[in-house]
């Protein structure tokens, strides 16, 4: 973890170059089996005279952040040779802080997808069980941290693209308030939902990295004025009397009476045990009920808005300015050919959906209604946040699924339990997933979502809960030594 490495570096027990080389060695060692990286760096590069808590600490960056001079593919064939000419703000800040880039990590193509199986360079495997997926879209970043290759990695989160793979990978995944971290240089998927966030192996580490990369950015008009807080200083605050709620329609075992899904039952049972432990520590935790129709609308609302924005955001990928040039006799044919060859079927499906959703005759019914439902959901949660400091829910209904798992996508479990984390994107709420139990030998995460702007409170609550799980700092890499 970062603080341990910091201490070793400061005591000269290890050099940052040694840490880098060790990370590099592991990166290569695990690459064939787990496929975390699109690009593994070959040169140790650190900013001279940098002096921060991250100076000399190796990390990985999702391959949808613009890195000047370093290949950035977004795991899509249409960008397979794209070398950016400018740095994303996050990357720039990490460079300034003296953190050392180890590699660019694999994602679901263009960050669209939640499985980690759709990258142009192949599937990413779960470090806890190679037969299982790690989840996505920030698959490689989650795997790289779970494997212990790097102590932290940067991801992006549009629906739950950090917090779901964090749950499946047994690591901490944190997405701060919308605007807390600049999106400049993050390849846009759905701008109103896109967040930059971090993977670490402890809540403290998540606070440390966020402290470095947050702040207002003159390149991103949606970035927030800095709150001038050091989150690391807030994580140990007293939580006595902090009020949390969980949603009955998601967590109550009675909802799943007829289910013989043992993993789901165990996940929820362990969740309830965790809540009891939290209560013992002084948290007040209550059950609230939310209209099931509203909850069932989360996933379709997410798909509708994200596909609509994605089809527009990715309209720059034509092979005209950059990327493989298509063939044809007219400009339309050339663009058509480049995009036909450059995107996988899944991506094209989303673009066609998005285009359909935005069409004049459908916009009111599909796009604008989805925006209204988004507002209803956010209003409902915001109203609850008047009374509660946060919302606590299981991040998934089990450990990571196997690759051949064909779950019933419209069952209650899939529709609500597996998709509720998009609430954090709808409202821009700070939201964190930390590992809380093992079910069938696979880690499962608990998700805590808090009031907008209150990143410090969410990290504080998560840090206290982490102490109760006994799972701080776990990594799958230990199993492979």
């Amino acid at each position: 973890m970062i603080e341990e490495l910091r201490e070793k570096l400061d005591k000269d027990e290890v050099t940052s170059e040694e840490l880098f080389n060790e990370a590099l060695k592991k990166a290569h060692q695990y690459q064939e089996e787990y496929n975390s990286f699109v690009t593994i760096m070959d040169q140790y590069k650190i900013k001279k005279r940098a002096d921060s808590i991250l100076t000399g600490i190796p990390y990985a960056l999702k391959d949808n952040f613009s890195t000047s001079g370093i290949l950035t593919t977004a795991s899509s064939n249409i960008l397979k040779d794209y070398v950016p000419v400018y740095d994303a703000t996050v990357y720039k800040k990490l460079k300034q802080s003296g953190a050392v880039l180890v590699g660019k990590t694999v994602l679901d193509e263009l960050a669209m997808g939640g499985t980690g199986t759709t990258a142009a360079t192949g599937i990413v495997r779960n470090p806890w069980d190679k037969e299982r997926l790690i989840g996505g879209s920030s698959a490689g970043s989650a795997a790289a941290v779970a494997l212990g290759i790097v102590p932290f990695a940067i991801g992006s989160d549009t629906g739950d693209s950090i917090r779901k793979p964090a749950s499946y990978g047994g690591v901490v995944g944190y997405k701060p308030t919308y605007g807390r971290i600049s999106r400049y240089g993050l390849f846009a998927f759905a701008s109103s939902l896109d967040h930059v966030g971090v993977f670490t192996r402890s809540v403290r580490d998540a606070a440390i990295v966020t402290d470095i990369i947050k702040g207002q950015d003159s390149h991103d008009m949606t970035s927030l004025k800095d709150d001038n807080k050091t989150y690391l200083k807030e994580v140990d605050n007293d939580i006595k009397g902090r009020k949390l709620f969980y949603i009955k329609e998601i967590c109550n075992l009675d909802n799943y009476k007829d289910s013989n899904d043992k993993e789901l039952i165990e996940t929820l049972t362990r969740f309830n045990e965790l809540l009891d432990k939290c209560r013992d520590q002084g948290f007040i935790i209550e059950e609230v009920s939310i209209d099931k129709q509203l909850l069932e609308a989360i996933y379709p609302t997410y798909m509708t808005i994200s596909c609509a924005e994605a089809t527009s955001n990715n309209a720059n990928l034509t092979g005209i300015q950059f990327g493989p040039r298509g063939q044809g006799n007219s400009i339309d044919e050339i663009i058509f050919d480049a995009r036909t060859k450059g995107f996988s079927e899944l991506i094209k499906r989303r673009f066609i959906l998005g285009s359909y959703i935005l069409q004049k005759e459908n916009q009111e019914k599909l796009y604008l209604n989805a925006c209204r439902i988004r507002r209803l959901i956010v209003d409902k949660i915001t109203e609850l946040f008047k009374e509660y400091d946060g919302m606590i829910l299981p991040a998934s209904g089990s450990g990571a699924p196997k690759f051949d798992d064909s779950s019933e996508k419209l069952s209650d479990r899939y529709l609500i339990l597996e998709n509720h984390m998009a609430i954090g994107n709808f409202g821009g709420f700070p939201s964190i997933t930390i590992p809380y139990c093992f079910v069938n030998n696979m880690p499962v995460g608990v998700n805590i979502t808090g009031r907008i702007m209150e990143d410090d409170v969410v990290l504080n609550i998560a840090n206290k809960i982490e102490e109760l799980t006994g799972l701080k700092g776990i990594k799958a890499g230990d199993m492979h030594v």
């Binding site: 949808n64 952040f65 613009s66 950035t72 977004a74 960008l79 794209y82 950016p84 000419v85 400018y86 994303a88 999106r183 400049y184 240089g185 993050l186 390849f187 846009a188 759905a190 701008s191 109103s192 003159s218 390149h219 991103d220 008009m221 949606t222 609509a308 924005e309 089809t311 527009s312 990715n314 309209a315 720059n316 990928l317 034509t318 005209i320 300015q321 950059f322 400009i331 339309d332 663009i335 285009s355 935005l358 069409q359 004049k360 916009q363 796009y367």
Partner: protein, 480 residues
């Protein structure tokens, strides 16, 4: 009888330091692709950051055109694929344009015509394309330059009105200082929509669209040609096809493409630019920055200052000249004399020196000083102008020159009488001619001498009166 119905869509690039959503310079250059940033190229991960100056200038223009302004600034995306559009969408305004439902009054052949403005919105310009035989070149210098689009209602009836509207609209831009609006640089471009219908028809005829006409003369030619063409078609029982046409160098229009179904641009609100509320104070401040426009000044000069049509034309056509003129007046100077100075000496000087009036050495304050001295008969008009030229040449405050050369006009009657008596005593022959022969031509002789001896400071009118009196006095005293 047939009549034409014309609507215009005018694009005008705004004059700002940087582009609409990036920090690239907004300057005209012949060198391609140098005013370009990652944002203008639409590279993955870029975000737009709106230019406050462009927003203010667009709002100001909308206000000057009497539009209703929005309560907040919101941008939208217009989605379509074209190589001149690097992001695959253009940031523009649909939800809340900078202005709606405005108008501009214009004078067409002496008659006032109100052209209704449907809306004014702010958007970004596209890159420019140069097409060659088997390839095309893209220049991104233009990509992202702030552009306002002004859409009129279909309320224009003929080419005269259309061209006058464009000229006056350009004056609005110039008077507001929002754009240089040079059509030869493509800074101001115009789409013309035109249809023809019978006087008695209730429904509009089929619309023909002509895009991106730069020169106003071409707008005139295109409209005149289209009215003839469409009327001819209808009169001969034909039908007008809905299509896009272009104007060629021969002054005729040619079909480019028939209009298929309208393109669906799939507009939606730009998510990267949060709405910015506009306060009443903000609008109040903007309002204060809006100067009187040409027509207002024109009417003021005619109705309040009672100037001649010619002088009004000269003084109201350019904002800097009009501002100069009005500043002189603001010091309380005489209107008629000020007009005289500005329209002759000042304008001929800046024309000769090929400079802008703001670069002229003579400030309105200095000119006001001279005008006042002429008005008070301290100096003659003739002298006033001479001093002005001298001041410009030597770059000296004209009031200093007047002091130094002691050039005040001599109006004092006793002083003048002394001068005149001196001259008459020196020129007895001319006095004799008046007394004995009654020759009045000697008046001019003496005036000349007096002016000469007084270093041209004597007031000629007063001198003449005294000369006449003195000659008569001498005649009478001799006969006694």
């Amino acid at each position: 009888m047939y009549k034409a119905v014309i609507g215009l869509e005018v694009h005008c690039e705004l004059d700002t330091n940087s582009k609409n959503f990036s920090a690239s310079p907004n300057t005209f250059t012949e060198i391609p692709n140098i005013n370009v940033s990652t944002v203008d190229l639409g590279l993955p991960g870029i975000l737009p950051y709106p230019n406050k100056e462009a927003v203010k200038k667009a709002l100001k223009t909308a206000m000057a055109l009497h539009c209703t302004n929005p309560d907040e600034v919101v941008f939208d995306r217009k989605n379509y694929f074209y190589p001149d559009l690097p992001k695959g969408y253009q940031i523009t305004q649909v939800t809340k344009p900078m202005g709606i439902n405005g108008y501009l009054d214009i004078l067409v052949n002496g008659e006032k015509k109100r052209v209704l403005i449907h809306q004014l919105h702010l958007e970004e310009d596209t890159a420019s394309l140069d097409h060659f035989n088997n390839y095309s070149l893209i220049d991104y210098n233009r990509s992202g330059i702030p552009l306002i689009e002004i859409v009129t209602e279909p309320c224009i009836e003929n080419a005269d009105q259309a061209v006058t509207f464009l000229e006056d609209l350009r004056d609005v831009f110039l008077f507001l200082g929002v754009s240089e609006a040079r059509s030869n640089y493509g800074q101001m471009r115009c789409d013309v929509n035109i249809s023809v219908m019978k006087d008695t028809d209730k429904e509009l005829g089929t619309k023909v669209e002509m895009k991106n006409i730069n020169a106003f003369t071409n707008v005139r030619a295109a409209i005149e040609y289209e009215i003839k063409r469409q009327t001819g078609l209808l009169e001969s029982g034909g039908k007008v096809v809905q299509e896009t046409r272009r104007i060629a160098e021969d002054g005729k229009t040619y079909s480019m493409r028939e209009k298929v179904d309208a393109v669906d641009y799939k507009y939606f609100v730009e998510p990267n630019i949060p709405p910015v509320k506009l306060s009443d104070e903000f609008y109040q401040k903007l309002m204060e920055e809006i100067p009187e426009l040409k027509l207002e000044r024109y009417e003021k000069y005619i109705n309040e200052y009672h100037l001649s049509e010619y002088d009004v034309g000269v003084l109201s056509s350019k904002k800097d000249i009009s501002d100069y003129f009005e500043e002189v007046l603001s010091y309380g100077s005489d209107i008629e004399l000020t007009v005289n100075f500005v329209t002759s000496a000042i304008l001929s000087t800046i024309k000769k020196l090929e400079i802008d009036i703001k670069d002229l050495f003579i400030t309105p304050k200095m000119l006001s000083g001279i005008v006042d001295k002429v008005k008070n008969k301290d100096i003659s008009l003739d002298h006033g102008k001479k001093i002005l030229y001298q001041a410009i040449e030597q770059k000296i405050d004209p009031n200093e020159i007047i002091k130094k050369q002691n050039l005040h006009q001599i109006n004092d009657k006793d002083q003048l009488l002394n001068l005149i008596c001196e001259v008459m005593d020196e020129n007895k022959e001319q006095v004799r001619q008046y007394i004995e022969d009654g020759n009045t031509y000697v008046y001019n002789f003496f005036i000349g001498k007096v002016m000469q001896n007084s270093n041209r400071q004597a007031n000629p009118n007063v001198s003449l009166e005294i000369i006449k009196e003195e000659l008569e006095r001498r005649k009478n005293s001799e006969s006694k």
